[in-house]
Every structure is written in structure tokens, then in C-alpha cells.
């Protein structure tokens, strides 16, 4: 890789601290990730793996109980954690945008579509009401909403779910951000509508050179949309690398098990490889590798020593003792 990455997370940790300070949940633990301009990265994990917290941490919009305790976040070379709140606000929606999962609830019911789509333009670029309105019409057109001139005047309840999700997409791209984070953007959509939306996101990415982060539990979306994949388990990125490499030769047992547990259209009625046990309780993690209790290949040291990220090839690494170079093991 030649150019500097667009976004670089270095040893980022985010913890939730309970009211009395007695319980600490390591929602995001020592995450290091790079994302280059125009690239699409999938972050996959189950519920509670910390993937949504990671996204909110990048935007510094964490809930009050959560704190970024260590690490660095560089975006276009600037340290986001060093920015004063006002500067950070000017990053949100302008340079980094985010799409939430629930299109039904993401739009304010009391304001017109045009108002809500044009709002970031007015705030970030100081555009007037009329010109923001015109830009909103253009944006609706670019997310393929028919007759945008009438739609801008309408209210969210007059739109279908698929349309609302595209409007949320239009808000995301309104100020021409460099990075778009999509948090489970299609979970509430029907299959054919999901396909429309994913196609739209891919086209927007190509046209505008957007970098995309897909937060999802669905490996299918990653297989379809992403160049690179990071697998999260219990707050840590256990494996990351190019999508094809991870699908073909997963190094971490969790990644391997996750892929094996997916039913496939072609393998009619074969038995699936299930992952035993339950996802861990984040407030009382084992001292070693968090996956060790469920891992079919766990060795004694896995229970006591947490593995560091071992580099396996260009841009491919895994946090597993099995991936350790012979000398280290």
C-alpha cells in the first residue's frame, strides 16, 4: 500500500463503565484497522461484539456511559481524538457520514423530506434555504427516487421503507463525505429491496470514490459488497484481511466456524458446522483468548494468554496462537 490510509485506528479501546464504576465492559478492545480511500470494509460480528460501538467511537458519538480509554484515530492525517467538540461536529455529516439501521425511525416525522435532506448542506456549507432545497432535489434524484420535485415536499410517513432508507442514504452523501459508515443498513428491508439498496450504495461508492464501512452480522453482505473484512469477537478484531483470502483460507477458528455455520443454497441438506456454546459475557471475559471456551482447537495457553495480532501476509492478520510464526510459538 502506497498512499496513507484515509482512516487509521491504532489500538483503540472503548469501555462502558457502570454507574457505580464497579462493572467495566470492554466493548472495543485494542482495535487496529486501516481503511484506504474508495475501499469498502466489512466489520462482522455477533450482537455484543462491539461493532456498533466501534462505529460510534469513530464519530465520537458514544452514549454517556462509554469512554474512549486509549488509542488513536487518524482521519485524513488528523487525529480525531485531539479535536475540540466543535471541530469534530464539522467532521460529522460533512467528511464522515453514517447510515443507521432503522429507516422507519431515522427521519423526523414533523419535517419535510427536503428540509431534512438539505439540513446538512445548510449547516456545513452555509447554503440558503432555496439552494439547499434545490440540492436536496438533486440528491433524491441521485438515490433514484422518482419525481423528486414532489417528494421533497412530502413527509416521512408518506414514503415506503425502501424509499426512506434511500432518503437516509441521500442525507449521508449530501455534503460529499469521504467515508460512509453503514450500520446494518438493510436488516429491516425485504430481499428485493435490500438488493436495490446495496446496488445503489455500490454505485454511489464508485461514482464518488467513497470509502465504505459496513457494520453487519451478515457475511453475505460482506461477500457481496466488501474488499476487506474485519471479524470482531468480544470487542476485539480477531482476524482481518482481504475478503477473498478470509473466505478461502480463514486463519482464526472463529472465522472458520462462522463461515461453516452458514447454510448454502447449493449444499442441500448437509449438516451445518455449529459453533458450540454461547457468546461470552463481556463484563467477565476469560483472561486469555475470549473465544477459547468455544474453540475446538483450544490449547492450554489459550485460556491464560491473550494472543496478539499475528501478521499472516500482506494486510492479513489474526489474533490466534495457531497463527503464530514457529519461532514465537
Amino acid at each position: 500500500m502506497s498512499a496513507a490510509p484515509l482512516l487509521s485506528l491504532q489500538n483503540l479501546s472503548t469501555h462502558y463503565v457502570s454507574q457505580h464504576g464497579s462493572r467495566v465492559v470492554r466493548a472495543v478492545d485494542d482495535v487496529t484497522l486501516d481503511l484506504h480511500a474508495g475501499e469498502s470494509l466489512g466489520i462482522v460480528g455477533e450482537s455484543g461484539s462491539g461493532k456498533t460501538t466501534l462505529a460510534l467511537a469513530i464519530l465520537r458519538l458514544l452514549p454517556p456511559a462509554a469512554r474512549i480509554v486509549s488509542g488513536r484515530m487518524l482521519f485524513e492525517g488528523e487525529d480525531l481524538l485531539a479535536k475540540p467538540d466543535g471541530d469534530m461536529r464539522r467532521v460529522r455529516g460533512k467528511r464522515i457520514a453514517m447510515v443507521l439501521q432503522d429507516p422507519m425511525a431515522s427521519l423526523n416525522p414533523l419535517f419535510s423530506i427536503g428540509d431534512q435532506v438539505g439540513e446538512p448542506i445548510r449547516v456545513h456549507e452555509g447554503a440558503g434555504r432555496a439552494s439547499a432545497w434545490q440540492r436536496a432535489i438533486g440528491l433524491l434524484k441521485s438515490v433514484r427516487i422518482a419525481s423528486p420535485e414532489t417528494r421533497v415536499r412530502q413527509y416521512p410517513h408518506e414514503m415506503s421503507g425502501g424509499m426512506r432508507q434511500r432518503i437516509v442514504g441521500a442525507i449521508g452523501i449530501s455534503c460529499g463525505p469521504r467515508l460512509l459508515i453503514a450500520d446494518e443498513p438493510t436488516t429491516s428491508l425485504d430481499l428485493t429491496i435490500q438488493a436495490q439498496y446495496l446496488e445503489l450504495l455500490r454505485d454511489l461508492q464508485r461514482q464518488r470514490g467513497l470509502a465504505l464501512i459496513f457494520i453487519t452480522h451478515n457475511l453475505g453482505i460482506v461477500a457481496k459488497m466488501c474488499d476487506r473484512l474485519a471479524v470482531m469477537y468480544a470487542g476485539r478484531v480477531v482476524e482481518q484481511g482481504p475478503v477473498a483470502q478470509l473466505f478461502n483460507a480463514p486463519a482464526h477458528p472463529y472465522t472458520r466456524a462462522l463461515l461453516g455455520s452458514l447454510p448454502r443454497m447449493s449444499d442441500n441438506r448437509e449438516r451445518l458446522t455449529a459453533i458450540e456454546g454461547q457468546p461470552p459475557d463481556l463484563s467477565s471475559l476469560p483472561p486469555g483468548c475470549a473465544f477459547a471456551p468455544r474453540c475446538p482447537m483450544a490449547a492450554p495457553r489459550c485460556a491464560t494468554q491473550a494472543p496478539p495480532a499475528f501478521v499472516l501476509g500482506e494486510d492479513h492478520s489474526a489474533r490466534c496462537w495457531l497463527a503464530a510464526p514457529v519461532a514465537a510459538a
Binding site: A195, K224, V243, I275, P279
Partner: protein, 320 residues
């Protein structure tokens, strides 16, 4: 071998928006004249998008809704004309597992009471028999017997779904309706439950009516598949045949929209335009024609009927 469940021209219409003043304003044709059969020991999968009527179909089979038209025959007997004894037999023969493991178990009942409820409601059994049966069922779904004394909130989603399955099996049913049984679960847990369901089917000879929006899961679990669109069946047949070579344009689009399980499977997609119309006002003729890439003039006028095409049934004018 006779079919376990046979549905003939089944319809369910709901009145739309009933006000205090003014009667019903039109009807929603949630299910509109569908026919299907479920064979003993086999799985019938139903797929389709929201509003296609798959959940209503499940409720009709469970007797939670009464059909507006058509009939359901269970073990040869029409459900509408069962006497009290037959009705009890039917109640015991058909059980269900629903999507949300957090909502399917009464939060204030112990697991033993939850599992035993179908049993004690339908049969005269002693406390000792109940206890033994609960232990046996817990073992069957892979939970330790001490789970019986706990409350649902002490279990994770996957464990709760196991409890729901144990409860469904308490009265040794012949058919279990599975309405999205794994879609609320974490990815790593889904395979556990799907495997469990498959094992139970092999061991107990159960029939399943499997409803899901996850095509891969349906294809994986089912012997036969029915594809529904706006209350009608557009294609039905052997699961493998259908999944590998769909014929109806909607089935093709649906399977093409399904996410790949591997990046190498990325393929040229047929992305459908538009969205599913309201079932309150379905398009005339073939209900799919406004979104169909192959629509012809007659599609807007004539409703196609299911006809055999290459080893399965398809309702489409393209093959007429």
C-alpha cells in the same frame, strides 16, 4: 402415503380499517386461493417478502385464524368440521415455534411449567409423569435437567429457542410450524438450532412447515418449497430443483437478490425495480406484472394459474 396436511384453495381476507362509523373499507387479501400439501416426515418451506401471506398461512394451519374460503385437511379430516374429540387430537398434533425467543416464553413461568403446558392442558397426567416428561424433553433439545426450575430470563436466545422447541414437542405432535425460528438468533447459534431441528425430524418423523425470509436456510431445511407473492403461490416444487433453476421471474429475482455465501459467487443480478404493492389494492392480472422484467400485455389482464414446468409448478404466462 396420504398427505398430513392438505390445503385447498385457501384464502384469508382481512377487512381493512374498521371504523366505529362506516363499515369495512375494502379487504386485504392476505392469502388468496393457495393450495399445498405437507407429507409426513417432510419439510415444506415457504418463502416470500413481507406482505406475501406466509405468516398468515402459518396462522391458518395452526388454527389461530379461520380461513375465509377453502379448506385445510389434516390427516384427511377437514378442520372446519372437527368435533370436540377430533379438535383436541388436532391441537395435540400441531405445535409451533415462533421467531422471537424472548417473546415466546411467558416471563413469569418456570421452564418446567412452560414446557408442560401443552401436556397438562390436553391430557390427564400425574405430577411425576410431567416431571419425567419435562426432563426427557430437555434432554432431547440438549439442555440439562436443572433448567426446569429456572425462569426464561436466565437463558440466552438460543437456549430459549431450545425451550420453545421442547415445549412444542411435549405432546408428540406430527407437525411443527416453524415461523422464522432462527432469524432472531446470532449467526453462530443459528446452525445449532437448524441442526437440532433436522436431528429431531429424523428421529421423531416430524413434519415441518418452515417459514423464513432467509432463502439459504429454507433451501437447506426443506424438501419442498413454495414461493409466495402478495398472497398467491407463484412457484412450488422440489427444493433442490427450485433453488438451482428457478423459473418464475419473481423466484429468479428473489434468488438472485439472496446474498452470496462466498465472494466468488458474486454474479450478475437481476435487481427488481419498485416495491411490493399494498395487498389492499393488488394489481390486476398477474400480481407481479408491474415489477416483472418480462411482462406482456396479457399479464395485466389474465391471472396465470399454476401449471407444471420442468418438474415444478409455475404460475406465469411465459410458460403457457
Amino acid at each position: 402415503m396420504t398427505a398430513l396436511v392438505q390445503a385447498e384453495q385457501l384464502s384469508k381476507h382481512f377487512p381493512a380499517r374498521r371504523g366505529l362509523f362506516g363499515g369495512p373499507r375494502g379487504v386485504v387479501r392476505a392469502v388468496d386461493g393457495i393450495s399445498f400439501t405437507i407429507e409426513p416426515g417432510k419439510t415444506l418451506g415457504v418463502v416470500g417478502e413481507s406482505g406475501c401471506g406466509k405468516s398468515t398461512t402459518a396462522k391458518l394451519v395452526l388454527g389461530l385464524e379461520t380461513p375465509t374460503d377453502g379448506e385445510i385437511r389434516f390427516d384427511g379430516a377437514d378442520l372446519a368440521s372437527l368435533d370436540a374429540v377430533q379438535r383436541r387430537h388436532y391441537r395435540k398434533s400441531v405445535q409451533a415455534v415462533f421467531q422471537d425467543p424472548f417473546a415466546s416464553l411467558s416471563p413469569r413461568m418456570r421452564v418446567s411449567a412452560i414446557i408442560a403446558e401443552p401436556l397438562v392442558t390436553n391430557e390427564v397426567v400425574s405430577a411425576a409423569e410431567v416431571r419425567d416428561r419435562v426432563a426427557e424433553l430437555l434432554d432431547l433439545v440438549g439442555l440439562p435437567s436443572r433448567a426446569a426450575e429456572l425462569f426464561p430470563h436466565e437463558f440466552s436466545g438460543g437456549q430459549r429457542q431450545r425451550i420453545a422447541i421442547a415445549r412444542a414437542l411435549a405432546v408428540s405432535p406430527k407437525l411443527v410450524v416453524l415461523d422464522e425460528p432462527v432469524s432472531a438468533l446470532d449467526v453462530s447459534i443459528r446452525a445449532q438450532i437448524l441442526n437440532l431441528l433436522r436431528d429431531l425430524q429424523d428421529r421423531l418423523g416430524l413434519s415441518y412447515l418452515f417459514i423464513a425470509h432467509d432463502l439459504a436456510a429454507v433451501a437447506h431445511m426443506s424438501h419442498e418449497i413454495v414461493v409466495m407473492y402478495l398472497g398467491k403461490i407463484v412457484e412450488s416444487g422440489d427444493a433442490r430443483t427450485l433453488a438451482h433453476n428457478p423459473k418464475h421471474p419473481y423466484t429468479q429475482a428473489l434468488f438472485s437478490a439472496a446474498l452470496p455465501s462466498h465472494p466468488d459467487e458474486r454474479r450478475d443480478e437481476k435487481v427488481l425495480a419498485g416495491e411490493v404493492p399494498s395487498p389492499l389494492n393488488p394489481p390486476p392480472g398477474c400480481r407481479f406484472h408491474p415489477r416483472c422484467p418480462h411482462a406482456m400485455p396479457r399479464c395485466g389482464q389474465e391471472t396465470p394459474t399454476l401449471a407444471p414446468v420442468e418438474g415444478r409448478m409455475v404460475a406465469c404466462h411465459l410458460y403457457a
